[in-house]
Amino acid sequence: MPPLSGHLWLNHHVLLVINPAGAAARISARWRISLPGADSGSPVRAELLGFATPVEAGRAVPGTSAEFACNFVVPEVVPSDDESFLPFLRTALSWGLPAAETHLLAERLHLIREATRLHHPAPLFAGRPLLCVDVVARSGEFSVYLKGWWRNCHGRPVSLTAISPEGERHDLLGTLCHFPRNDIEPAYAGDLYTGFTAFFRLDQPSLLRTGWLLEIETADGFIAETPTPSVLEEPEPVLAAVLPDMQIDRSPLSPQAVEQVHGIISQLQARRLGNFFPEQELQFGAPPPNPVLSVIIPLYGRVDLIEHQLAQFALDPAWAGCDLIYLLDSPELWQRVAWRAEWLARLYRLSLRIVRCNQSGGYAAVNNVGARLARASLLLFLNSDVLPVAPGWIERMMASYRRRPGIGALGPKLLFEDNSIQHAGVGYVATNDGFGWDTLPFFKGLHRNFPEAAQPRRVPAVTGACLMVDQGLFQSVNGFDQGYIQGDFEDMDLCLRLLRAGCQNWYDPEIELYHLEGVSYPLAQRMRHATYNRWLHSHKWSAVIEKLVNQSDASVATAARIIA
């Protein structure tokens, strides 16, 4: 019989034998369990991890070959309320467990939590819920965002504790921020509800998607617990659940609430983009030997737009000298795009590359990959819903860029499909909505030939829908900021960094293209992300933006000159 050693832990008459060998079930031996301090007359149950059936000491285990009465030396006893309990348990349970089996470890921890904890009643008072969790979102294994509400009938709780499935307890009262939840009241008329959000970091990793608990202790000593919905981990559901908390009931932003949203989302972004890379690249047609311009076009959702662009590009001989790169940001459409691009490249006789990344990355991440793959020293970031008005624009745009020393970013005049102005440079304007500023798209919606929009000018920023920048310069300011969600403000951010680096950004109406704003990136989706992105932009650039806003006045034309 191999020597058995292990850890025992005693609480509430439940005995856990944690057998590091894992194969205990197959050991045919009589075990005797001796427990320090246990009353010999009291009933003692033993649960062996890996065994399905709880046994009483000294009795045979049904379904196993072993008679269950073992002599067991207890080397160490760690009480569950001790600080070192969870780390101890984790270490103990990891013995003999392959490193990859983190999920099995988590499940064992959960088993132990369930077997050992105090079970409290459901939080009901007079038949109505007292406590509820709406959202548990996690980024990675440590960062948790939790949203819920309590009923105000017992006053403010004296404790509110989140308990991870793996048994870690985290007090929320110290850090949560709360707000009225008027939306619940119609359902349970007559009561008042307090909503709360909390963002915290666990000490020990958590992997399980079910099993979270929230425990409440009211001022009159009532303790209850409630289960929670499954944990959200995937970026899209997390964003959908968390982003609305930026603005509850359209009331001004609570900085604390915003910080909590920022906490989870920045973690999410960093985590997801930390593992973002180009996985496959296909070249169609002979690559140009010395390309003068790399054109970087993300494809998102509407991959049919590639055909619309190529049909137009084919009419312009300037493309012969261009390094054209399409980056698919909808990886699930790769087969369709690859097949289509091959035939389109042959039909339109254009040289192009298509690149697939390992996942969807959003505007900044995809364009940064595009810039890294670019072969030319001049870059043009172009949206897939931008179409030329007429051939010749590429050469004009490159010439415009080259004749302006000190230029950072260059943007053209962009037109909606009805020939009104979609883009003529972007600035900032003062607001009283809590942010203190808003972006000011110059002359948007006005006539194509609106006089002030017909002059080249220095502007605070230009849109990323069609943005030309020198590759060296772009890299020197570290490319697009990947903290923004999906495709908003990255261009503003880049332009502000170019300004800070001493460059000027230019708008040149000599170059005209159409931009079907919103086709490559649906507006509704964009609006969901807008508040967060705007907040993040403020957060990063408040001083600079304030200066820009203060320099401007209500006149659009003046606003356009503020940077000059």
Binding site: Q312, R346, L516
Partner: protein, 436 residues
């Protein structure tokens, strides 16, 4: 015969969306006549490529994997091109599987090596077939006859708005979206940009009417690229006789599709009014087809009108072009009451060839083809009262019929038409040579 030896004749390739042997539509018949005239005695040798298979025919390609087949075993100049009918984007007018163009159309073009390619339609092939011709034959001019308004109007090129069939004067993303609320304005913008990018490759457009030319110029095609040239037609055997034996002029005929756009319901309403104005004299023969393809509510309302006008209207059913002269023999006037602008309606040419003056709507290609008081009469399009009055005036004005019949334009023979087109081809070939 042209003085050049056959070997030295340059070659024109006609591309059509369908072959008249499969379905004898107007454009198919005309393009076949042009092809025959050109290869028979024209300055250019001619070859014809017609799209086959769905939706016009259920016939599959005879040799799987081979996209080209012959129309007749004995004819070395007529071919069918078998792409799949479903493999066509009806909204954009683009080929979905570019392989048909890039591989198979290219193989045909580079084997046949025409000096000119003349399209009669790109429907079911794709506007991007133009791009493939430019790729495969960089030196060959591309000519394109504009037979309808399909590039401008997604509603089958009818230029009639969907809500009330009002005639549409201008296509725009917003207005097209109003006609098709399920399709966003931007999609119409993309459609127009796509089609124009392909049409950019055409060296010369042929417009069969001034009206159509102006519509395309207003839409944005360069006016100088569009020549106006009517359809030349193979002559019918002879002019029909001088009309009814008793000398009355109360017999009217309608030839064409029994559809709402053709205004056949307006004509039936006019017959009802006419019967009130002057009972028991007028009679109408409807020579029409495709009623079964019309929307059910239109079929029902037309059925009701036919029942109401039963004693004065003969619904004669479908007809063949070879029967035309005989059918016209039986009537005095051809009525063309279309609600849409039309292009250059072949039925008007055919009426003139058969010696029949025309009463037509006062709009578009019809108004252009018929000079009121000289070779026919106009009425207010869509107005049954105006039509009834015009029909009564036509029948009751002494000497009017004979006067109009005297001034019917002489038909434009297809041989002359082919000669004119050959001149255009020659000029375009020289221009392209000078460019390269």
């Amino acid at each position: 015969m042209h003085p050049l030896t056959p070997m030295a004749r340059p070659k024109v390739l006609y591309v059509v969306h369908n072959h008249p042997e499969i379905r004898p539509g107007g454009v198919e018949v005309y393009s076949q006549e042009l092809f025959e005239a050109m290869r028979g005695g024209g300055e250019f040798a001619a070859c014809l490529l017609a799209k086959a298979g769905p939706p016009f025919s259920a016939a599959q390609r005879p040799h799987e994997g081979t996209m080209i087949s012959m129309v007749h075993p004995a004819d070395d100049s007529q071919y069918l091109f078998h792409n799949e009918g479903g493999d066509y984007d009806h909204f954009l007018g683009a080929a979905c599987a570019k392989e048909y163009l890039v591989t198979y159309l290219d193989r045909f073009l580079t084997a046949v090596r025409p000096d000119v390619v003349h399209f009669h339609h790109t429907v079911f092939l794709g506007y991007d077939a133009l791009r493939q011709v430019r790729n495969s034959l960089p030196a060959a001019p591309i000519v394109c006859t504009l037979n309808d308004y399909l590039p401008i109007c997604h509603r089958n090129g009818q230029l009639l708005r969907t809500n009330d069939h009002e005639r549409c004067h201008e296509a725009s993303p917003r207005r097209c979206h109003e006609c098709f609320p399920g399709i966003a304005p931007r999609e119409f913008f993309l459609r127009e940009r796509f089609i124009k990018a392909q049409l950019e490759l055409v060296d010369r457009f042929v417009a069969p009417s001034e009206f159509l030319r102006e519509r395309y110029a207003a839409w944005g095609l360069p006016r100088e690229k569009i020549i106006c040239e009517n359809y030349g037609r193979a002559p019918v055997s002879a002019r029909a006789g001088a009309g009814s034996p008793d000398g009355s002029r109360w017999r009217f005929g309608f030839f064409g599709q029994l559809s709402l756009f053709k205004g056949v319901h307006v004509l039936l309403d006019a017959m009802k009014i006419l019967e009130r104005l002057q009972p028991g004299v007028a009679h109408l023969w409807l020579h029409g087809n495709n009623l079964d393809l019309q929307p059910p509510d239109f079929q029902a309302s037309l059925g009701a009108r036919l029942a109401e006008t039963a004693p004065t209207v003969t619904n004669a059913g479908p007809f063949q072009r070879v029967e035309l002269r005989l059918l016209m023999e039986n009537i005095d006037w051809v009525v063309v009451p279309s609600l849409w602008w039309e292009n250059a309606p072949l039925v008007i040419q055919e009426a003139f060839m058969c010696g029949r003056p025309v009463i037509c709507s006062d709009i578009g290609g019809m108004a252009e083809a018929v000079t009121p008081g000289r070779n026919g009469l106009h009425f207010r399009a869509g107005d049954a009262m105006s039509l009834a009055e015009t029909m009564r005036r036509a029948a009751t004005t002494p000497g009017l019929w004979a006067e109009l019949r005297r001034h019917l334009p002489v038909s434009y023979p297809v041989a002359e038409h082919a000669e004119k087109l050959a001149g255009l081809y020659r000029q375009l070939i020289a221009q392209r040579r000078a460019l390269s």
